[in-house]
């Protein structure tokens, strides 16, 4: 007996998820509720992204999974193993080879193409959650395009600290309409959302929402004219392995000397540079 259908779900469930996805693409940045399924992977561990990926996979797809920049992170390995078990399709670590890339909190350094789909895992899809706990109310705020609370939050940060103090997950305005949580990608990655050639899908399993940035969509990080949006500062730093600069780094500490040193966070990018595959 074959215990599970191709890509885990029954076909009806897959179709339902795709229907929500189509709606999400049609209304950029709008959070579409969907009947999120319980997965064999824990809620909060990428079930939203995984449901999107499984609903999209065909026999010819090549999948890449990264967790915080790393293909070999335990959760990425685990999700890849599950996808492989349920589909048997090819997997890769090379960004350029993949047709579908599922990622937790990073957008790869290698620019994505129009024939690729990036699936981002989302813990809290609601950008207004920090300023308003109720779902009922945030839905109405979005409908009215009433975003003063989130602007005020950023303004207060400037008043207190003389700058915006958002970490990852800095809110963005999509297609001049919806304020959207880009998922906790670093601010450094926010710019890659703007006019992306690849379709970007975002899935929140526990919160049961799917949203999307279609290709070539205007995405602006929220900022003020006199206080522009700032990415993380890695100026003057290079990767101790491949020598790359101007990428997102992991900060490491030398056990003996106690000195800080830096390494590309995107492990596949770093490897490919080391192996001279990106020339």
């Amino acid at each position: 007996m074959k215990a599970y259908n191709f890509a885990f779900f029954d076909e009806g469930s897959k179709r339902e998820i795709r229907r929500a996805t189509v709606k999400a693409i049609s209304i950029p940045g709008y959070q579409v509720p969907f009947a999120s399924r319980e997965m064999p992977i824990a809620r909060g561990w990428g079930t939203g992204g995984l449901q999107l990926t499984l609903s999209l996979l065909g026999q010819d797809d090549i999948v890449k999974v990264i967790d915080q920049g790393c293909d070999e992170s335990v959760n990425a390995v685990n999700i890849k193993k599950f996808i492989n078990k349920m589909t048997g399709i090819r997997e890769t670590e090379q960004t350029a080879t993949a047709t579908i890339i599922q990622s937790r909190h990073r957008i790869p350094e290698v620019e994505l193409r129009a024939d690729q789909i990036l699936v981002l895992q989302v813990p809290i899809p609601e950008p207004l959650r920090e300023v308003e706990p109720s779902e009922y109310i945030t839905q109405r705020l979005h409908a009215d395009q009433e975003y003063s609370a989130i602007w005020l939050m950023l303004f207060e940060q400037i008043m207190k600290h003389n700058k915006m103090t958002t970490g990852a997950d800095h809110p963005v305005l999509v297609h001049q309409r919806y304020v959207m949580s880009p998922s906790p990608i670093p601010r450094y990655d926010n710019c890659k959302l703007h006019n992306s050639k690849a379709l970007i899908l975002l899935g929140a399993g526990r919160e049961k929402k799917i949203y999307a940035i279609p290709p070539y969509t205007t995405v602006q990080s929220l900022a003020f004219n006199d206080y522009p949006f700032q990415t993380e500062d890695f100026s003057g730093r290079t990767c101790h392995l491949c020598g790359a600069s101007a990428v997102y780094f992991d900060e490491l500490i030398d056990e003996e000397s106690g000195h800080k040193y830096y390494q590309c966070n995107d492990s596949s990018y770093c490897l490919q540079r080391l192996n001279q595959e990106l020339l």
Partner: protein, 384 residues
Amino acid sequence: MGYVAVKGGSSAIEESIKRLQYQRIKAKKKIDVEVIQGTLRGLIDKIMSESSLYARELAALAIKQAEGNPEEATFILRAYRSTLPRKYYSQVVDTEDMRIERRISAALKDIPGGQILGASYDYRHRLLDFELYEEKIEDLEKLLQEFEAEGWSNSEEEASGAKQKTSEHSYTKVPKVISFLRAEGLLPPVKIDDSEPDDITRKSIEFPTRRSARLQTLTRGEAGAVTALGYAAIRGYGMVHPTVGELRVGYLPIHIDYPLQEGNEEDAVYIGEIEVTEVESLIPQVIEKEKGRKEIEFTVGYGLCYGQNETKAIAMSILDSCLAKKDLLSPTAVHDEEFVLLHIDAVEASGFISHLKLPHYVTFQSELDSLRKTKKKEENHESI
């Protein structure tokens, strides 16, 4: 430079999984699914209820796989549930048709049909029973013979068969306690609501909710979470003082429409029975009448769970009532449907809490960057 490959994660995971396997078997003992099914009724009932899947055998298998960890077993079953297509919706089940196993009322002493204590821990002292160390299968058989000599039988097949002796407790209608109260006018008449219920497994819950979505969410809630919030509601953080009008435990027959062609009601197909706990709590409520006159009326809070889950079903009935009350002057968290319904699910709560174990290197780095920049600013200010 030669080809560099990172292979840390995969092999570490393999070893971790092996270690887990070792933990499960290291005592060189094995427990059969059949044994779990036959002995761990309480755990099976809890897990079936929380995973929204009425399947005793699969629950037993999940318990075995999870080494008895209910959080894990529920998780496994829920995930399995996701792979099952919904083929049918059952016909409406009337709980008056219950084959009653236990039925009590804390509101009225003499109830038509009588109080039936059934099987319960309520009347036992919770003393650790050291004799169970010595329990032998022969003893069980002997004891069972004695029980059967008294005409007891509890297996589902026998119960529906002809040799059932306790026939007065089979699917004969035992009227509800609240129907008497309603007949006496102590409960306001209610309109029958035949509108199609929501299905929260097919369409995600939306706020404000309908009652069907609330009840579905409550019944699959984690027993401890539902109990804790129900407790908070009656202890001081809610406006609810319930009396258990009726608590029933028993079996309900499930029918589906004849699947092959459009038929009438009588063509229904019986597909089995499920054991449930049902609670109807009576909650007094002050109702404003004309000219500011106030009157007290009872409202009914409803709880229904798979299996024998009495505490959870009572707590559910309390929360059902809390969430039905709108426009309170000083509502507390238990009256807030988002607060209650979005946080009681076993799989969601444990999943999000446990995700904190995942690496947060990127996000933490980003936070560090922000933090350092503010520090730098402060230092600059000070030096000026």
